[in-house]
Amino acid sequence: MTDSSENIPVVKEPEQVHGLLAEYETPQQLISAARQVRDAGYSRWDSYSPFPVHGLDPAMGIRPTVLPWIVFVAGLCGGTFALFFQWWTSTTDYPWIVSGKPFFSIPANIPITFELTVLSAALTCFTSMLLLNRLPLPAHPLDRIRRFARVTDDRFFILIQASDPKFDARETAELLARTGPRGAVETVMEDTHSSATLPRGVVFGLLIVGSAAIVPFALTTLARVSTSTSTRFHIIPDMDWQQKFKAQRQNSFFADQRAMRLDVPGTVAQGELQDDDHYYHGKVNGSFAKTFPPQVEISDQTMARGQERFGIYCTPCHGDDGSGQGMVHLRAKSLMQGTWVPPADLRQDTLRYKSVGELFDGISRGVRNMPGYARQVDVADRWAIVLYLRALQHAQGARIEDIPESERKGLE
C-alpha cells in the first residue's frame, strides 16, 4: 500500500470532474471498502465487479429493491387478463361449443392463464430490471479509464460521483485512499466528447426492425377488410385434402363400389350371440314360453326393478295402473287427434291370459302402433317389466279372497 498523501490527485476544473475511482483486487477488499464509504454517508456512488458479490448489498447499504412487487403485480395482471380474455372470447365474442364443455370452462383456461402469468412476470422482470438500473447505457465516463476495462475480468472498483452532496475532492480522495485501494485513487473526468444518446446506426437499425415488424400485421389487416377473386391459400394442403374415404362414399377398389365394408357373413359382435331362445326371444321350441327363463330371478328385487322400468317406459301411454289412460293418451284425446289409436288396456282378458313369452315379445318388437323397446330396455329389464306386469294384472283384477287373512281387515 502506498502512503495516503501520495494518492491525493491534483484536482482539475471542478465542473469537469465526474468522480473518484478506486480499484481493489479481491471481493473481500471491495466489501470492506464499501462499508467504509457507506458509513461515511455517501449516497451517489457505486461498486463495480465482474460477478455478483454476496453480501455487497448490505455492505453498500442498498435498500431492498422494489422489483419483486413490480413482478408480482405484472404476474397478477397477466393472469387476470388471460382469464378475462378467454372468458370474453368464448362466451361473448365467439361462443363455440368444444367437446361438449360449457362455454366458460375454468380447467381448459388454466394452462393459458398460467403461461400468461409467467410470461408477463418474466418480461416485466427483465425490462424493469434494465429500467431500474438505467440500462442500457450507451456511454459512461468510466469507459475512458484504461484500467477499468479489467472490471469484466478480475478487478473491483468503487466510484464516488462528484454530484454527491458530501463530495469534497480532497476529503473523498482521502477516504478512498484509506480503504486500501490498489494503486492511486483516480479522478474520472466528465466525458464531453461522446454523446449520451444511442449511436445513429443503432437507432436506424431499431427503426428498420420496428417497421418490418408491422408488415405481417398490416397484411393480415388488409386481408380481413378486402375481398379477393383468387383461390384460397391452403397452408396445410394434406389436411384440407386427406387421402381417405368417408362413410357412404364410393370406392372403385371394391367390386360392390362401397367404401364402407360389411361384416363377413356369420360375424357376431361381442355380447351379441343371442343363442338362448327362451331368454332372448321368449320362445321355447318355436312357440311362446309359458314360464320365465331360468336367468330371471323371481324376487322382490326384480319386481322393484320392473316397477321402476315400467314407470319410465310404459306409464306415459298405458298409465300407472295399466288402464291405458296415460298422459300421452289424455293429451291426444284433449287435442282430439283423429288418427290416435288408444293404447291397450293391459288389464283386459286377452292380455291377462297371454303367456309371459308373448308379453316379452310384444315389449321387445312392438304391437301395432306401439314400437319395439328392445333398443332402449335391455333383456333383463324387459323380463322384469313382464314380471311386474303380471303382478299388476293380478292386482287390478284381484278379489278379496286373494288378499292374505291378516291384511284383509283393514280393507273391509
Binding site: P27, Q28, P52, H54, S99, G100, I110
Partner: protein, 403 residues
C-alpha cells in the same frame, strides 16, 4: 460462490443425551397411538386398515422426501446444503423402520383381506373383466416381489448415504463425496421407478379400475414437500437445543423455504395436469375417480385441499422475508405437513359414498406411526455428528449466502 467470513465450527454438533426427552415422547406416542388405534379400530378393521394406510404413506413420504433430498444434493454436487444434509441423511436412513411399519399394510394383504384392495379378492377378479385383465400385475405374489424391491432399494440407498457420510466424518477426503455422487445418478432413476410403482400399488390400486400414469409424480410432489418441511422443523428443533447455532443460519432456511415454495407449485401443476387430461377426455372409467371426490362431503374436502395445499401457501411462502424468518417458516412447514395429511386422506378414502369418515382412529394411527418414525430418527441422531464434518464442501456451505 462464497466470500467473506471463513467457516466457523465452534458449534456443538452432537446431540448427546439432549434428545432423550423427545425420544421418549415420540416412543410413547408411537406405542400409545398404535395401541389405541388397534383397540379402537378392532370393531371395524376395514376402517382401521384405511386409517393405517394413510398414516403409513405419510411417514413413507417423509422418508422418501429426505432420501430424494440427499440424492439430489450429491447428484448436483451442491455446496449450500452440506450443513443441513446430515439431518436429512438421518431421516432417510430410517427406511428399515418404515419397511417394518409397512407390515401393517402388507400382513393383512398376505392374510387374504381384500377390505382395501379388491384385486386380492379372487372371486371378484374372476368375474370382473377389467380386474381379470390386470391380474397379471395386480396379484399378491408379484406385489410381494415388488415390495421387496422397493424397500430393499430404499433401505440400501438410505443406509449407504448415511454410512459413507458418517465414515467421511472420521476419514475426510473427497473420494467418498465423489463415490456418492456416482451412485446418486443411477439411483435417481431407480428411485423414480420404485416410487412411481409403489404409489401405483399402495394407493392407486385401491380403485383398481382407475389409472393415471401421472399418479406417481403426484405422490412424489407430496414426498418432497413433506421431506423439506420435516427437515426444516428438525433443524429448528436441533437449534433450539443449542446445537448448530451458527452452522445453520437463515441462508439455509431460505433455500429450504424456496424448495417448499417451488414444490407447492409443482404439486398443483401435477395435480392439475392429471385432472385436466381426465376432465377433457371425459371417459367414465377415468372420471369416476374425481366424481367420488366431488360428491357429498368430499366436495368440501376437495375445495379445502385446493385452497390450503396451493392457494394459501402459494401467497404465504412467496416473500423472501417469510422464508428467512425461522418462526414464519416453521408455521408454513407445520401447515404443509398438515395439508399433506389431508392430501393423502383425500387420495385413500373416497369410495363413492360421499361420506368423510374422519375419526379418532385416523388421528391415533397417524400419531402412532409418526411417533415410531420420530423415535427411530432421534435414536440415530444421538449417535452421530449433526453435520457432515468430513465433507470438503462444508466450509462453502457454512459461508453460503443467497444473492
Amino acid at each position: 460462490m462464497s466470500h467473506g467470513e471463513e467457516a466457523h465450527l465452534d458449534d456443538r454438533i452432537t446431540l448427546d443425551a439432549d434428545g432423550g426427552a423427545l425420544f421418549r415422547g415420540f416412543a410413547i406416542a408411537g406405542v400409545a397411538g398404535l395401541g389405541g388405534a388397534a383397540l379402537l379400530g378392532m370393531s371395524d378393521t376395514a376402517k382401521l386398515q384405511r386409517a393405517y394406510l394413510v398414516a403409513f404413506m405419510y411417514v413413507l413420504s417423509v422418508a422418501l422426501g429426505a432420501l430424494w433430498f440427499v440424492a439430489i444434493q450429491h447428484l448436483t454436487n451442491a455446496k449450500w446444503s452440506v450443513a443441513v444434509r446430515r439431518v436429512a441423511e438421518i431421516l432417510a436412513s430410517n427406511m428399515l423402520l418404515v419397511a417394518a411399519l409397512s407390515l401393517g399394510v402388507v400382513v393383512p394383504m398376505l392374510a387374504g383381506s381384500s377390505d382395501l384392495y379388491v384385486w386380492l379378492d379372487r372371486a371378484r377378479v374372476e368375474q370382473d373383466h377389467i380386474l381379470h385383465h390386470k391380474a397379471a400385475y395386480l396379484n399378491i405374489q408379484f406385489f410381494m416381489v415388488r415390495w421387496f424391491l422397493y424397500f430393499g432399494f430404499w433401505i440400501w440407498l438410505g443406509r449407504r448415504f448415511f454410512k459413507l457420510s458418517v465414515q467421511q466424518d472420521k476419514e475426510g477426503g473427497a473420494e467418498i463425496s465423489s463415490s456418492l455422487q456416482r451412485i446418486s445418478a443411477p439411483s435417481m432413476i431407480v428411485y423414480a421407478l420404485t416410487l412411481t410403482f409403489c404409489a401405483f400399488d399402495l394407493i392407486m390400486s385401491l380403485d383398481a379400475m382407475w389409472y393415471s400414469t401421472m399418479f406417481g409424480v403426484y405422490y412424489f410432489a407430496g414426498c418432497v414437500l413433506a421431506g423439506y418441511s420435516t427437515l426444516g422443523l428438525a433443524l429448528m428443533w436441533v437449534q433450539s437445543k443449542g446445537r448448530l447455532s451458527q452452522s445453520v443460519n437463515e441462508e439455509h432456511y431460505h433455500d429450504i423455504g424456496k424448495m417448499m415454495f417451488a414444490f407447492i407449485i409443482f404439486w398443483a401443476y401435477v395435480g392439475f395436469s392429471q385432472f385436466m387430461l381426465i376432465w377433457y377426455g371425459d371417459i367414465p372409467e377415468e372420471t369416476h375417480w374425481f366424481h367420488w371426490r366431488f360428491e357429498g362431503d368430499w366436495k368440501v374436502v376437495s375445495g379445502l385441499l385446493l385452497g390450503a395445499h396451493f392457494v394459501v401457501p402459494f401467497f404465504g411462502l412467496m416473500s423472501r422475508h417469510v422464508k428467512r424468518n425461522k418462526r414464519s417458516l416453521a408455521f408454513w412447514a407445520v401447515w404443509i405437513l398438515a395439508v399433506h395429511y389431508l392430501d393423502l386422506f383425500w387420495l385413500v378414502y373416497p369410495n363413492g359414498s360421499g361420506d368423510v369418515p374422519f375419526g379418532a382412529v385416523d388421528i391415533l394411527c397417524w400419531i402412532g406411526v409418526l411417533g415410531i418414525f420420530g423415535a427411530g430418527a432421534i435414536w440415530r441422531a444421538q449417535k452421530v455428528n449433526l453435520i457432515p464434518t468430513g465433507d470438503p464442501r462444508l466450509a462453502d456451505s457454512l459461508a453460503f449466502e443467497n444473492v
